[in-house]
Point group: C2
Chain length 359, copies 2
Amino acid sequence: MTIKAILSLAAFGLVLPGLPATAQTELPADDSLREAALDLFAPIPQQMDQIPRPDGDPTPITAEKIELGRSLFFDPRMSVSGLISCQTCHNVGIGGVDGLPTSVGHGWQKGPRNAPTMLNAIFNIAQFWDGRAPDLAEQAKGPVQAGVEMSNTPDHLVATLKSMDGYVEMFSAAYPGENDPINFDNFADAIEQFEATLVTPNSAFDRFLEGDNDAMTELEKRGLQAFMDTGCVACHAGVNMGGQDYYAFGVVARPGAEVLPEGDKGRFTVTDTVDDEYVFRAAPLRNIALTAPYFHSGQVWDLREAVQIMSSSQIGTELEEGQVEEIVAFLRTLTGDQPQIVHPILPVRGDDTPLPAPM
Amino acid sequence: MTIKAILSLAAFGLVLPGLPATAQTELPADDSLREAALDLFAPIPQQMDQIPRPDGDPTPITAEKIELGRSLFFDPRMSVSGLISCQTCHNVGIGGVDGLPTSVGHGWQKGPRNAPTMLNAIFNIAQFWDGRAPDLAEQAKGPVQAGVEMSNTPDHLVATLKSMDGYVEMFSAAYPGENDPINFDNFADAIEQFEATLVTPNSAFDRFLEGDNDAMTELEKRGLQAFMDTGCVACHAGVNMGGQDYYAFGVVARPGAEVLPEGDKGRFTVTDTVDDEYVFRAAPLRNIALTAPYFHSGQVWDLREAVQIMSSSQIGTELEEGQVEEIVAFLRTLTGDQPQIVHPILPVRGDDTPLPAPM
């Protein structure tokens, strides 16, 4: 039975054959469990050259692009206020998120959705909860212009960059041979190249996938088995345990309006197709233990509760307490090595640098 | 003539004897210039063990305290909103400041004064523009509680720290043998220990002081001579080129209300002494090229203009254009090696961690 088929069965509220009603999932031998898991998941590569290239871009990722992207990512002067950087909402120290229900941006305005992590985002099929950006470069262009986030414009941003000698040098080094290397596309490209390095290999789950039976406890392994048995895997598979396709939130039973606000119709606003109402990209589950609160609405702080909501709304099952415990234990094995980023020393403003405009 | 005597002469608007009216300062031989400079200034130590201990504290700075302090410094969850950290206003990437006239804090409120840098702050006699905190630990307790900054309370902060296993471990390691190591004093102490490591040695000026004649250009050396000749040194001396004593802003001529707002009476609010009206701690000039805008009001973006305002308001001299150029060139030699800080991976929130309260 394919995972799509499992999901469509679940969509009709059918109880899946073989789903145990017992509190404790039966555990196969390690090798069988690993084999089954490797059919559905893959570890995050340890080596940078095994990470997919942004856009399938044939030009090499260079150290100059990554360093430029790192500076841009951390530079609050990329916002019109001079206060907000990519790092503000995608904090490398707390799993690539801001730990808020929905982000707070320019003028302390609340954004509409929970900030997704940029860690491992290179493995997603598209960016944002509704997938409206095909890649990380396109994603980077969004918040910088959003009135409730960084509230900048491409022209103002480019003028800011061109006013600082340090950025003039860095863009020339990163995009050699270009007549006018400081432009909005290269700004976004450099951030993408940096973000493509932000991966978190070496989680306990990945070490198990790679052959280390001791990397996971028995409880965690039961959780992996339950994760596959109960149908979670229908949406959360692949390297990133999600991020690969779109699904209606509430395919079986719609959760309450607090978790699924009626005003946010998800992918519908991208495709203008009725079938896409309340459809979202399945959340990648890597480092999920670090990225509370959960869902696009950011209204659920407890991973146990998030698992229960998913199970009742998406697969039509009320998981038993024991299964929830197992699955949560498994989800905690998805925390990988977090990137160690040296905070960049940023270019010094020039005489012509536009003044920050906090309001 | 002592520097205090020079300043009091200047206070009466007297033109100092020996002040050249020419545009170009006469330059003595390098050795004489260095000797004169070493009477007034000192280089920032290259070795951590030469840096003064906070408070003259006899206990050792430990790696555990510094690492804890680094985490606390970068952790936005130390604010009640979960959005603002020490790093927000004291950004290690832009000279330890926020690059705003006055800081923006909780609820996007504007603070009353420009954020001073924490880089080399260990060399200051006291902290804040009005010196109201005797040391960096006492300073750290201020913004975290200020309603317009991080808007937290000690109790809420301690509850937040105690709710995270990672902080429980880090405080125990940093303050071994203490029954209840997570408390507001240790929070502030750890930040102080971290900040005491944030020094910027190896500036061109320091290399010149240490014997390298080629570290400064002739223009910069003339600027150093002019800085000493014209009386700047009366307030800006020592390791930190300032930060050691308090002076009235406008001792000779009060600048306009934009630069010196009437409502901010400076040290008067600390000492309640009329003599301290509009008195501020002399700004340390280390890395001054990185820390625009200038003065407690943060209303001056151009270092040339800042020098001119200081000269007319503090020493009663209208510097000639050439002297301003020299002094600014010298001030630019005060930029040292900026600290390379790995962004900490912060503790994960626990089940009992208070929720962020953006408003």
